[in-house]
Symmetry: C2
Subunit: 148 residues, 2 copies
């Protein structure tokens, strides 16, 4: 019985785990990816609002990770910098990318490269959800939040 319980827990963990080992197709149906679930964007001690993060692909065989973020209207990520670079690809709605004190609009399939140590933030001042892939190195430093 103990063994069955352990197996069930293990299967449940696998079911929503972005860690890949064997080849797989992660289907996108009804506006979400099967076998992937959104988690909290960050701890609540940092300054952000209305952001969800969905880990999509990570693997011991890859030097990068693919995640999906969605920012609801009026939401924003934390204003931060770090030594690792980002690639952001907008796939839903539109949003704004702050780079230092400049703002750039990101629309469908626009791609942003955010260089190391650039102070940046993603914001949604619009009326519909803003969704984007964010691809990063698997090994990376912790972001440093900029206090305003």
């Amino acid at each position: 019985m103990g063994k069955i319980k352990r197996q069930q827990k293990s299967l449940c963990e696998i079911r929503f785990n972005s860690q890949c080992e064997n080849s797989e197709v992660i289907k996108f149906r009804n506006n979400r990816w099967l076998r992937r679930k959104s988690i909290k964007y960050k701890d609540l001690l940092t300054n952000w609002a209305a952001v969800k993060r969905t880990p999509l692909v990570k693997s011991k065989a890859l030097k990068f990770e693919v995640r999906y973020f969605e920012i609801l209207p009026k939401g924003y990520t934390s204003l931060e910098y770090h030594n690792h670079a980002h690639v952001v690809i907008c796939i839903k709605g539109k949003g704004k990318l702050r780079l230092g004190n400049k703002y750039k609009i990101l629309k469908y399939l626009d791609i942003a490269y955010i260089a190391p140590n650039e102070i940046h933030q993603l914001l949604n001042p619009y009326d519909e959800p803003f969704g984007f892939f964010c691809i990063v190195d698997a090994e990376r430093d912790k972001p440093i939040e900029v206090k305003i």
Copy 2:
């Protein structure tokens, strides 16, 4: 004069180069990315048809590269394997992914993780172009083509 010529050549190379150094937004307009151009998928000695490759983002600061591939109807990539893994994200039309002797359909925003040394191929047996991002480690081994 020599200096100006060298600068012009350099600017021209930068204009269509996927190598990123400073932060930038690569806009997607009229069905293509600005400042990025498609190149030949592979040399002609391998068995493939009707595939275009567009390098989108690479950087000394990233351990991965983002490319876009588009396969016209009846086209296919080479049947191959390699030690590095792939992440494929369908963003246009639909297509088929061969994994060994099995075929899986990839539709809009479906994501495929192709594990190391898996024999694979992407095919478009449909009537509209099949487009997908393919994200790979920057340092990777050369594919080995499987002869049929």
